[in-house]
């Protein structure tokens, strides 16, 4: 079932699950690559899960610049707003 809105805490839980981290470590501004050791495969996994949950598609350049929870939250929110 696809969500039509994106709750930041739900998103934080999704990202933490993929990254195998406690939710508290996925802070709003922690850099995925430099702070949380996200590699390209993990970034792809996040993208696939976001698509399944929220129905939004990432472009290649968006995937390359996946930077923080806040950034992902803004991105998903704006894509959902565009679709509405």
């Amino acid at each position: 079932m696809r969500n039509v809105s994106v709750d930041k805490e739900e998103l934080r839980a999704l990202v933490a699950d993929v990254l195998e981290l406690p939710v508290e470590e996925v802070t709003d501004d922690a850099d995925f690559v430099n702070d949380l050791e996200v590699d390209s495969l993990v970034a792809l996994e996040i993208a696939v899960r976001l698509e399944k949950k929220y129905g939004v598609k990432m472009t290649d350049s968006e995937l390359m610049t996946l930077s923080s929870l806040n950034w992902v939250h803004q991105l998903v929110k704006s894509k959902l707003d565009d679709a509405a």
Binding site: V18, L19, E20, L21, E37, L41, V42, L44, E45, V48, E51, K52
Partner: protein
């Protein structure tokens, strides 16, 4: 000379806490028998397919048991050979379901690479920096013992000085024949040439030598399907036995099924003078290697482990005591 010394053992099988228990009957297991967080602490393991987790955990135990054999060994002098029959079947089944019921775009990127069955063993190279060679063997039933033979040839050719050899299997997906009694788990042996064992002052469980054979179902060497009940030509068993045992008649651990090939090998064994312990073969290639681990761990090292698959493949592994520095089985 394709003998090699086994210096480390690792096993991850339901109901078996350590290699000395590997000969115990395998209990029925339930999902959740394997605690990945306990066996593989840290990140990067949770989303791996179970058969890869089992293999990594068993290899970790075996390398620790061998007394850190990687220390000081250049990465290109290390090799891996792993046997598997069923490691990716459950994953492929889940992937089929995702494509059929949803969309290929929903396939998990973290799991997708394991579509290639060779990736289960490849992950060992990433984990332990094993860069000499890495090979996956898939021969039905015999792949675990075959892995020892292939690896031993590579060591004898000087391609590496350390071999991580093993087998891993996962539960078959629902609906597959043999699902209730399939192999599940992993067994890993660390193997080294005798010279290196002596050089680093290590101790060995025993020496192993493996040979392959093929029994052609049907008369006059004409291959027929495994369901054919024509007599199986066992004449090559004598020469294969001689290659591993010479004139000796060690006791035999036989892992066989009730196919015409399995039955023919059983009859051939009955005609030999050796004592035989039979274990019913399960779907997969793990059971023969598990029996081998158990024999080595308990010091029962004057043995042959023999297995055969319905297609005609046979493998025999001769175990002998080490000449020197033998491990004390009681201390394992």
């Amino acid at each position: 000379m394709t003998d090699m010394v086994v210096t480390g053992l690792g096993i991850v099988v339901p109901g078996v806490a350590k290699p000395t228990q590997a000969l115990d009957p395998v209990p029925a297991h339930s999902p959740g028998w394997f605690d990945v967080a306990a066996a593989l602490p840290g990140r990067g393991y949770r989303w791996l397919p179970p058969a890869c987790q089992y293999l990594l955990a068993a290899a970790r135990s075996a390398l620790e048991d061998a007394g850190d054999p990687l220390a000081g060994l250049p990465v290109e002098r290390r090799g891996v050979v792993v046997g598997t029959n069923n490691a990716s079947m459950a994953l492929m089944d889940r992937m089929d379901r995702t494509i059929i019921d949803a969309d290929a775009a929903e396939l998990s990127p973290l799991s997708a690479p394991f579509f290639a069955m060779s990736l289960f063993a490849s992950r060992l190279s990433t984990e332990h920096r094993i860069c000499g060679f890495n090979l996956t063997v898939n021969t039905p039933r015999t792949a675990g013992l075959d892995a020892l033979q292939v690896g031993a040839r590579a060591l004898a050719a000087g391609r590496a000085e350390l071999l991580v050899a093993g087998a891993t299997e996962e539960v078959l997906p629902a609906g597959e024949p043999g699902r209730q009694a399939g192999d599940v788990g992993a067994a890993v042996l660390v193997c080294e040439p005798l010279a290196r064992v002596a050089e680093r002052g290590a101790t060995g469980y025993g020496v192993v030598r493996t040979r392959a054979a093929f029994l052609v179902p049907g008369a006059a060497g004409v291959p027929v399907s495994p369901v054919d009940v024509s007599p199986v030509d066992v004449s090559t068993m004598d020469s294969s036995w001689a290659e591993v045992c010479g004139a000796e008649s060690p006791s035999v651990e036989a892992v066989l099924d009730d196919s015409p090939v399995g039955a023919a090998v059983q009859s051939w064994l009955a005609a030999q003078r050796a004592a035989v312990t039979f274990t019913t073969a399960r779907a997969g290639c793990l059971t023969p290697l598990r029996r081998l681990v158990g024999l080595l761990a308990t010091g029962a090292v004057d043995r042959v482990v023999l297995t055969a698959g319905a297609e005609g493949n046979v493998a025999l592994t001769r175990l002998r005591p080490c000449a020197a520095n033998t491990r004390d089985p009681a201390g394992s």
